[in-house]
Symmetry: C2
Subunit: 563 residues, 2 copies
């Protein structure tokens, strides 16, 4: 049974941590940070049996109450557990279940890996994978369906290229997608062909859904393992809480199963993938905090535009590199207002995905209008807020709006953004400092699995505007860099506030849960390139150790079948 | 806020009952009954802080452990809480939210009640009601849309007649259903009409869905109140556990909200309304027992045929009163096997609705075939099992199959069954004694709200085969009457067993939850007409009093809006 194996694995994880008793965690270089970036330093915490902090101690202080256990922090740096304000829990987890070909260096290596994976997973109806790159293989051509057929002929195989812009199918997958010599290339896509137009095996871009659309949805067992894997990944990167952006009903049920079974550790603030899902999950309003502050449906995520890379982001003017195109609205202004209104009516929180300057303007306008009727503490969120018209930035502060941003997107996208918009229209691009200066709230996230699960990389970018290679020299539009303290606040206290979780977690203060990480260095003292290399030594949630770097992780591997 | 009002109301209910302490419930005429109908009598129970029985005491015994509270049972009769093996939790509850016109004695009284209800419920988009009877009003004709319009003109109104075979609409409801002079009478239905064929307001039988199909689904707030009302009704009738037959995903979410909020008292064994719902709710298998044994998804309910009254039940020979008709199969044998197989694959329990002798034969055959592959303790259930070919009855025992039956259907349906089948084909009709004698397991339910929430009426029927009027004299096919002990076992221990709940509840023995009722008389000693009049004095769940007849019930009334 999958779940019992998970439970057994997880029990190993809680090695030697006191539970259900008052615990003194002593001898730490403790850091807590407030929403405004001000810092509290301390030397110890007292945690009660519910995992809540009862006392924060200075150097030389002793607990005022009787304690049952003392944990020696060995002088290590302790910061609040990172709160990831924007990630995709099940997307991250399901990604761990597919075959990873990114390390293969020849076609033969890839074929061997595929054959081994297929043999190890006899129950899986499709073989799904990703990460291949024929250029790294020195192949000089795309691989073929026939080559795949030679290793897997009993099931469809579908493997995405490393960049996500091509997929490699075997013959059964081509058949499942009804891709034949008669199939025309769809607009924006191409079917690689051999003699007589016979599909050769690789499909490009918009041809990919012909086959990807046939892949069966994951089994519930797979979802459970995926959630467990995602949680393990997040914990090992020091993330103790997250906003799940786009929670489906299946996702919600999976997270509840983990909570019911007692192995949900990470704190999840869920934003449903649609108003329908929101109403089905939440009913008359946001759910309670469940499982000792580990799960709550806060509201809904709405998509207003697409991404900059694919020129889907909504812009006020034409794309610099595609005249006549200003992006594609995914919702009209009226549709957006109707959905926001339906959510706000029952006090659900609204998070609007808006990347381009026009999308941000539309979202800000909708929020401003709705705020007239829906008063009170709403914490409207705009997700990404990547390109904002400088004239619109002050509206974040005026509306008490949360700018939920992902620092690493700045370095991933910077050169592409220049191509899409031209230099003159980037005055409000990834404008963290200006948003803060205008009174906006910044909440930071990783956007995993779109970007790596790595809040420390995000911190490094936030303070330097440079990527891992230190480029560009001096930082990209470095005026928008923020302080270490502001960046850490955006990844902790403000990310919690953005999900109505302040007072529960996000800071290391009395009354909040004892969610923290031990780091190999102090991120408030380190140079950006050092921040990026800081190690997460241990992760603790509610006063219990849930990850330690010195211990081999009991990750549940691969798919399991019931019984 | 609806939920806080519910919580406040419920807190009143737990008046003066000890909690979180060891409790001795003393001085009772205690009865527990085993699956085989054997009886254990006792004088007291000791209940621990989890609501589990730790000791069952004889007369003169004292608890072996220290106790915190002693409750004086005042010599009253205590039996296990009734377990209703087949009812519809949300159907029961939603029925409490609509306008009840069954007590009106004139058209004017009805119109006054409708006007008052509409005024009291300004937020309700439709006014829904039931129970009117123009014959009781002495009207000599059907009421009209115009008469309704005079009291409610701002919203659609839809009111079902007492027998469910007609509905009365106002003009806005007719418009919502697009029912005009041009609308033809559907087969099996009729639209009452005035001059020029203009719809007059009343729609008969299969014309009713034209309007009923337009009624908006209940709001989540309404579902919460409905669940609370249903629970109150069940508790006041001594029902402490139930199998919910046909749980939708919305139903499940509603029950979980109650559990999360802490006001779910009754124990619910859920059977999803479809395999899709089952998989969404349960994921890889039946859920855990949640909320201290108060909720579990056991499996799925499948519908194989319709009802006898509407001649939908599947028969082996033609209907006696409709030659050429043998009923309508709702699933083919292959479909049934596929769905059963999908459920059994992941250890979900299967409950098959089968009323006619052919349907029962088909269900038994499917179970027998599937039992070859799906071994182990499956507890296949057949719901209703009303008309079984005598030649098939032994198969219940051979297959370890649960016959989940509702005694009151026997007296409600007996004369209709004679008309439908003729006397010669009723040898296996409501054949409780024969099923038991052949080794089958009998689990009894009320089928509420199709029949009243009244297990004591069911007990009376089970032992007498007569209705409340004592008819027919001597009982209908009285050979099939069973003993009081067998009947009580079917409403307690066997109903729990039928839902895999033995060891958790259903009997008053050490280790099971202290779910019991105090009755005004001993049902094992009483004549049938006396059993029917036995009062439920108090209902206790997990050692806490959740209903007392001497206390005005704090039922939440009517609809509530958020805020």
């Amino acid at each position: 049974m999958t779940l019992s194996r998970i439970a057994a694995a997880l029990s190993l994880l809680f090695f030697a941590t006191p539970a259900l008793a008052d615990t003194w965690i002593d001898n730490v270089e403790g850091i807590s940070i407030n929403r405004d970036g001000s810092v509290d330093r301390f030397a110890g915490l007292v945690v009660d049996e519910d995992g809540r902090i009862t006392e924060v101690l200075d150097y030389g202080d002793r607990p005022t109450r009787e304690i049952d256990y003392r944990v020696d922090g060995q002088g290590r740096v302790m910061v609040p557990g990172f709160i990831d304000a924007h990630a995709h829990l099940m997307g991250l987890g399901l990604g761990t279940l597919v075959l990873d070909l990114s390390e293969t260096r020849s076609l033969q290596q890839a074929l061997d890996a595929i054959a081994a994976y297929a043999a190890a997973n006899p129950e899986r109806p499709w073989i799904i994978g990703r990460g291949w790159n024929q250029e790294l293989w020195g192949l000089g051509r795309f691989p073929t369906a026939a080559e795949l057929d030679a290793v897997v002929s009993d099931r469809p195989v579908w493997l995405e290229r490393v960049d996500g812009h091509a997929g490699w199918a075997n013959s059964l997958a081509l058949r499942a997608g009804n891709v034949t010599s008669d199939t025309a290339d769809p607009a924006g896509g191409r079917i690689e062909r051999g003699a007589n137009g016979v599909p050769a095996g690789v499909l490009i871009d918009s041809a990919m859904p012909l086959i990807a659309g046939q892949v069966p949805p994951p089994l519930a067992e797979d979802r459970d393992v995926a959630l467990y894997n995602a949680q393990s990944l997040l914990l090992r990167h020091g993330i103790t809480g997250m906003a799940d952006m786009g929670t489906t009903v299946e996702d919600w049920m999976t997270i509840r199963r983990a909570g019911d079974a007692g192995w949900l550790q990470i704190r999840v603030m869920a934003y449903a993938d649609s108003v329908d899902s929101m109403l089905l999950i939440g009913g008359p309003g946001p759910t309670q905090w469940l499982y000792d502050d580990r799960l709550r449906l806060n509201g809904v995520k709405l998509y207003l535009d697409g991404a900059l890379g694919s020129r889907g982001a909504l812009l006020k003017e034409d794309y610099e590199d595609d005249h006549g195109n200003r992006g594609l609205p995914l919702l009209s202004g009226t549709q957006l207002r109707n959905l926001m209104s339906r959510a706000a009516l029952d006090n659900f929180q609204v998070a609007v995905h808006a990347i381009g300057d026009e999308a941000n303007d539309v979202a800000l306008s909708a929020i401003e209008e709705l705020s007239v009727d829906y008063t009170g503490d709403r914490r409207w969120r705009i997700e990404h807020a990547q390109i904002v018209d400088p004239a619109d930035i002050a509206r974040f502060g005026q509306g008490g709006i949360v700018a939920s941003m992902q620092p690493v997107h700045q370095t991933s996208d910077m050169f592409m953004a220049e191509a899409r918009l031209g230099d003159d229209r980037l005055g409000g691009a990834y404008a963290w400092r200006t948003i803060l200066e205008n009174g906006g709230t910044l909440a930071f996230g990783t956007d995993a699995p779109v970007e790596p699960v790595d809040p420390l990389a995000g911190l490094a970018v936030a303070v330097s505007r440079t990527n891992a290679a230190g480029e560009p020299d001096g930082g990209w539009r470095s005026d928008e860099a923020i302080t270490r303290e502001q960046a850490l606040a955006a990844y902790t206290a403000n990310a919690a506030y953005a999900g109505f979780a302040e007072g529960r977690f996000g800071r290391l203060v009395p009354g909040e849960r004892a969610d923290f990480v031990f780091l190999s260095a102090d991120p408030l003292m380190a140079a950006p390139n050092v921040i990026r290399d800081i190690e997460v030594l241990e992760t603790w949630i509610a006063g219990r150790r849930v990850y330690a770097s010195s211990i081999a992780q009991p990750l549940v591997e691969g798919p399991q079948q019931s019984e």
